[in-house]
């Protein structure tokens, strides 16, 4: 059992959730409430990671994070280390490929807040910020929680893009999914079996918890 790989996966998932939460609140709310030019295109772009093969996505990310691209070069100038094949690069890739898993449910969550309830908040004198904290977030919570759990679980399970962008550097970019692959390549089926079972267990636990909690929130609101 490669504990460092499991720990790395959990750290990666936690960072992704932390970074994506504000993004999904912002973009989910924007897409739910506002009409703007290019909205359909934006929604399509957010959904892209769902349909593109991980190799294609990984390839673009590799180019984007590399020193040949402005982002990769800027990071190198700032930190002194390349973004590709690093944990930070992995976080960046993870945030991008989890966008559909985070934003879609968040958007549905905000869409579930009735328009007249949001208007009532304004007519009660709530500033947009207070309305977000006291009315919209509590009501959109089931969607936001689904978003975060899906992101967490999906990060644990992602394989192709991690391999493309991160490689398999122990302690830096070797996640549990990669470690399982390595075990199988080395004909260590027993090791692979243990790690696979652990991953199944953790994923089931996280998703089970969400269903439980969202059922409770559902009861509270109905």
């Amino acid at each position: 059992m490669d504990w460092s790989a499991l720990l790395l996966s959990l750290r990666l998932a936690a960072w992704t959730v932390v970074l994506l939460f504000p993004v999904s609140v912002l973009l989910g709310r924007l897409l739910a409430y506002k009409q703007f030019r290019g909205k359909a295109l934006s929604e399509a772009m957010i959904m892209l990671p769902l349909v593109l093969p991980p190799t294609v996505f990984g390839y673009y990310l590799l180019v984007l994070l590399g020193r040949g691209a402005p982002l990769g070069e800027a990071w190198y100038q700032l930190v002194g280390q390349p973004l590709v094949f690093s944990f930070e690069g992995l976080i960046f890739a993870s945030v991008i490929f989890n966008l559909p898993f985070a934003i879609q449910p968040a958007q549905r969550g905000f869409e579930a807040v009735p328009q007249d309830v949001r208007e009532a908040a304004a007519c009660c004198g709530m500033s947009p910020w207070r309305s977000l904290l006291q009315v919209e977030l509590p009501l959109a919570w089931p969607g936001l929680m689904t978003a975060m759990v899906l992101t967490f679980a999906h990060t644990l399970g992602e394989f192709g893009i991690v391999l493309m962008v991160g490689g398999s550097i122990p302690g830096e970019t070797r996640t549990i999914a990669i470690a399982i692959y390595d075990r199988v390549q080395a004909f260590d089926y027993d090791g692979a079996a243990v790690m696979s079972a652990v991953l199944v267990g953790i994923s089931l636990f996280t998703i089970g918890i969400t269903y439980l909690l969202s059922a409770r929130v559902g009861r509270r609101l109905s």
Binding site: P114, V117, E119, A121, C123, Q134, L139, L221, S222
Partner: protein, 360 residues
């Protein structure tokens, strides 16, 4: 406190109108659905801005499109009761009311309980909206709107989602509350009986334009306004005092010119009521008729005869100090040879007066 409103727009609904509402007055915006009344309310609240509009409240400019002034909704002191109440479902009744209070209110919890008591909902403070009936939710919504200490109170068809009995009770409660309110109240409704019962002023709107505006009684007897509202709703109010509750389920009332009997009225003997009489339910007779099933025959004097464009005329009749309207055909008026100043008899079936058309 007063509110002045003017707007011009072509979308989403054509608007071209202006009106004013004074402090302590209930102004009813009346019109069919799609006439623009809700859009007007949303413009006042700051939830919508037409192409060209101006809203002034208590001397402050809330909206003036010409000079780019548009105070955001949360900075306008408006209390709004939405059609479906729009209560915050995750908050208790008390929290809903507290959420609208200005920051200057010190003991919000007790103030909220006071408001809930004033709308006759003292024991429901800890309930969530889902645990309240429609009428109770409406009361919470009203308490929340008033807790904002608004400069104008906006009611968007607030009684349309409750049953008839609850609506009557809510009407009575609002009438009782009305005298305490210092701000203008704007009531959007398509229910003539409701407007007649609650409002002092009335603005009749059709396709975004004002057809008629003025005191309710005056507008209600205006043929131009009536065409927009539908003649079936033409009605007038007759003052009557409860004399006795008879054993056969009828209540005897005394009007200025004689007794009438109505289906059992829920009011104590001696109470003075206003009975809403639909104009098309009235029969006129020159001589006092005999051998008639209708119980209520009241002497009256013809005040005015107004003909419309159709086959009907509206006869204004004086019964004591009340003006009663009858809608009869032009031919009937001619055959009766009705003249202004002439005495005649108003005949009214007891059963033609709906229970919720009798009010204190």
């Amino acid at each position: 406190m007063s509110l002045s409103f003017s707007a011009k727009a072509t979308t989403p609904i054509p608007l071209d109108l202006s009106f004013e509402a004074k402090a302590g007055e209930v102004l009813a915006l009346v019109g069919h659905s799609g006439s623009g009344k809700t859009t007007i309310l949303r413009t006042i609240a700051g939830l919508w801005a037409p192409q060209s509009a101006e809203v002034q409240c208590s001397g402050a400019t809330w909206l003036r499109t010409a000079s780019g002034v548009d105070v955001p909704a949360h900075r306008r002191r408006v209390g709004v009761v939405f059609q479906n109440y729009a209560l915050f479902p995750h908050m208790t009744a008390k929290q809903n009311v507290m959420s609208a209070m200005p920051a200057t209110v010190r003991d919000k919890s007790n103030a909220a309980l006071d408001w809930l008591a004033r709308v006759n909902l003292p024991d429901m403070a800890e309930r969530k909206p889902a645990e309240l009936s429609g009428g109770q939710q409406q009361r919470v919504a009203l308490a929340r709107a008033l807790a904002r200490a608004p400069d104008v109170l906006l009611l968007d068809e607030p009684f349309s989602a409750v049953d008839r009995v609850t609506r009557e009770r809510l009407h009575a409660e609002l009438i009782a509350l009305r005298s305490d309110l210092s701000m203008p109240v704007i009531l959007v409704t398509h229910d003539m009986a409701e407007a007649q019962a609650l409002a002092n002023q009335m603005v009749v709107i059709d396709q975004g334009r004002v057809i008629r505006q003025g005191p309710t009684a005056k507008v209600m007897s205006d043929p131009a306004a009536l065409r927009a509202m539908g003649l079936r709703d033409l009605a007038s109010l007759l003052t009557a005092r409860v004399i006795a509750h008879d054993d056969d389920g009828l209540t005897q009332l005394e009007t200025a010119t004689g007794p009438i009997w109505l289906p059992r009225v829920k009011a104590d003997v001696g109470t003075t009521l206003r009975v809403r009489v639909l104009a098309h339910e009235i029969i006129l007779s020159r001589a006092r008729p005999e051998g008639l099933s209708a119980q209520n025959i009241l002497p009256a004097v013809v005040d005015r005869i107004v003909s419309g464009e159709g086959p009907g005329v509206i006869v204004h009749l004086a019964i004591g100090g009340d003006e009663v309207l009858a809608r009869i055909t032009r031919r009937a008026a001619r055959d009766l040879d009705l003249q202004v100043g002439q005495p005649c008899h108003v005949i009214l079936k007891s059963m033609s007066v709906a229970r919720d058309h009798v009010r204190g």
